[in-house]
């Protein structure tokens, strides 16, 4: 296990820690009102105008400056929409407004992943079982090995290039995530079940593909190709950005994982402690926070996933103070440093834990069935 930078807490301390956070959440929720509603509408406005501007510029995309600007603007719009509007609205952060435009049950985002699948795999599974090995399927997305506690398999040798692919097509990875294909491969989920869950995934995929790669290009008439290309690049820009921000949320250097057994006795306070230890923040200016969907405040988001994201900055001050008082590590750093930590994990845990290269090679050889007789316990070294 990764050594913890947080001191162990007694049962009473865990309860008190939880009570302080509950109190903080209730204080913020009670204060929600017109300013928060105005904020989310401003974000909506920015999304709509940037999308209109981006698409309009791409229609003139035969001119290189218009193409570049249009592509960037559309990419920015998709980032804002996915991260600061869609993700947060679908969490129910603005359900209290009782406005169907900003309601978790009715919102659908500009992303290949359907809202319903996202709400299940992300809001429920990931946010409830955060960083629990075997329960939080976001921990490596079913095919990446990012922690020494995860068992190694030779396929992990491929994870550096696979991660790059995932970054480029992140929305498609997310779209397939809820189908749990890796469980299908392991025989834990039947093909029939997967096929049963497939139609809504395909429906959303078709909608997204038709929109960006048929309808808008066709509307542009002779400028079909520049529009199609611009849409493609804009989607990739959003994918890479979302990948980077999201991986920095749980796979940075000092993030901890948990065995499934914690669930047996976990109290509300302990759930908070797990969220704190399992998440990491990014430092940056206001614009950076907005573009990250305030997932730069990943800790606050995981403590209070349904508190409006525009409140995370003020909440963070208090969370940091409370964490300090209880001797808990508050994992934050620059984007560069945290992303570096993520990359290190992707590279490091592509290889088995055992440090000496020769031993690694022999483990690989055994796993690949090239040699026999290497004791599997050496993996745990």
């Amino acid at each position: 296990m990764t050594p913890s930078l947080s001191r162990p807490l007694s049962r009473e301390e865990v309860a008190a820690f939880g009570a302080e956070l509950d109190e903080l959440r209730n204080r913020i929720l009670a204060a929600l009102g017109e300013d928060d509603a105005r904020y989310v509408r401003h974000v909506r406005d920015a999304v709509r105008w940037s999308e209109l501007g981006g698409r309009a510029l791409l229609f003139a995309g035969i001119l290189p400056p218009a193409w570049v600007l249009g592509t960037l603007l559309l990419g920015l719009s998709k980032i804002l929409e996915n991260m600061e509007l869609g993700h947060n609205v679908m969490h129910g952060q603005y359900d209290w407004m009782q406005d169907p435009e900003f309601h978790s049950q009715t919102y659908d985002w500009d992303n290949a992943c359907s809202a319903a699948a996202w709400r299940h795999s992300h809001n429920y599974q990931h946010h409830t079982f955060t960083n629990i090995l075997g329960r939080d399927r976001d921990l490596g997305y079913g095919f990446l090995r990012l922690f020494p506690e995860q068992p190694w398999h030779p396929v992990h040798l491929l994870q550096p290039p696979l991660s790059l692919l995932l970054a480029l097509g992140f929305e498609w990875g997310v779209a397939l995530h809820d189908l749990e294909l890796e469980r299908g491969l392991r025989g834990e989920k039947s093909l029939g079940q997967i096929l049963k869950e497939l139609p809504p995934v395909l429906r959303k995929a078709r909608r997204q593909l038709l929109k960006d790669y048929a309808i808008f290009p066709l509307l542009a008439g002779p400028f079909f190709l520049p529009v199609l290309g611009g849409n493609f690049v804009a989607n990739v820009i959003r994918n890479v950005w979302a990948f980077a921000i999201i991986f920095c949320g749980h796979f940075t250097e000092h993030v901890e994982t948990f065995p499934e057994s914690v669930l047996e006795t976990e109290t509300r306070g302990a759930w908070y402690v797990r969220q704190l230890k399992g998440s990491s923040n990014l430092n940056g200016g206001p614009l950076f926070h907005v573009l990250s969907g305030n997932l730069s405040y990943q800790i606050e988001h995981h403590l209070f996933p349904n508190v409006p994201a525009n409140r995370y900055a003020e909440i963070a001050v208090e969370v940091k103070r409370i964490a300090g008082e209880y001797g808990q590590h508050y994992n934050t750093g620059s984007f560069a440093r945290q992303l570096g930590g993520v990359m290190k994990r992707i590279l490091r845990y592509a290889l088995p834990n055992a440090a000496p290269a020769r031993r690694a090679v022999s483990v690989i050889a055994e796993k690949l069935g090239l040699v026999h007789g290497v004791r599997s316990s050496s993996l745990a070294a």
Binding site: D22, R25, N26, L29, A30, L32, G33, E34, D35, D36, A37, R38, R44, D45, R48, L52, H91, G92, D95, W96, M97, Q98, D99, P100, E101, H103, S104, Q105, D108, R119, H120, N123, Y124, H127, T128, R207, L210, K211, I215, R268, W271, P305, N306
Partner: protein, 372 residues
Amino acid sequence: MPHPSPLASFAAPLTRLLAAAVPRPFLDEHVFDFYASQLGPQLSLNRILARVEAIRPEARDVLSFVLRPNPNWRGFRAGQHVQLTVEIDGVRHTRVYSPSNAPAAGGTVTLTVKRHPGGRVSGFLHERVAVGDIVELSPAFGDFVLPDPVPAKLLMIAGGSGITPLMAMLRDLLARRIDTDIVFAHYAHTHRDLIFADELVRLGERHPNLHLHFGVTAVSALPGELSGRFSGEHLDRIAPDPAERRTLVCGPRGLLDMVNALWQDRGYPEPPCGEAFTPAVVTATDTPEIVLRFARSFTDVRGDTGVPLLVQAETAGLRPRSGCRMGICHSCTCRKQSGAVKNLLSGAITAEPDEDIRLCISVPVSDVTLDL
């Protein structure tokens, strides 16, 4: 009369055309509405957005709001209600009102609203809504309407702000020049609370088929008026032939109960048609005896004030969507149609009608109706 801006009147058919041109799966209503609203504040694909055209006082603490809805409005029948939605401090609130105008009156909808002490929406409407503001309406609904064909003799009994649907019917009848004999009794606490009193008097002078009676319950009546709450004695005085009349009642629950009991006692053949018009004041009950109503499943069960609604729904054999069971994932979000619930995380009690709640962290504190 103010007209919509030329841009809006040009843009309305244009947006309609656009909406028809975009294939349905690619038409996101909210995206469409955002761009449409830039052309005119009332332009919307489906929503009924109405502009406040006039506000006028009708009685003490009673204002009428004349609303002009956009073309998504499909009209109403006199006596029906609409949901009015306004946003107060970032939160949308919905209340049900009956239009008080005749449906034919130039496409407008007049909502007559009495201000209730502590009433969030009625207070907002009275204090903060101005001419030119935009509010949202639902399509009209409800079965409390004039019988068709209109009977030869009618008796209408209105209590307080319950007059609004009956006023719509009365105006409708008179506007359509239907020669029905109408006995119209209108009760309020005091003379200052008699909504539409002046207009009723004017109508009574103009239409010999309208026989008007005012009643006051909290002050002494003037000569010719009815004194105190509705009673058999009142009925004998205003309508000696009640068995021959179709009776329509709207007012507080007590008025309806009184009328029903009287009709039963006297064995009149036709039961009165009535609607209780009681302001939605739901508060936590002390009694553990509460009823949970799952509207979509047509299931009523005895409720428990100590157990989350999710568990109680599951115990009742329902399978609502659920997830974390700790209030974070919003999977079990469900529309509460009425009743008061307590949020287990914050301890807050909310009694708003038509409000979304998370079943896993909500316990009922009164009778509750859920859209499940």
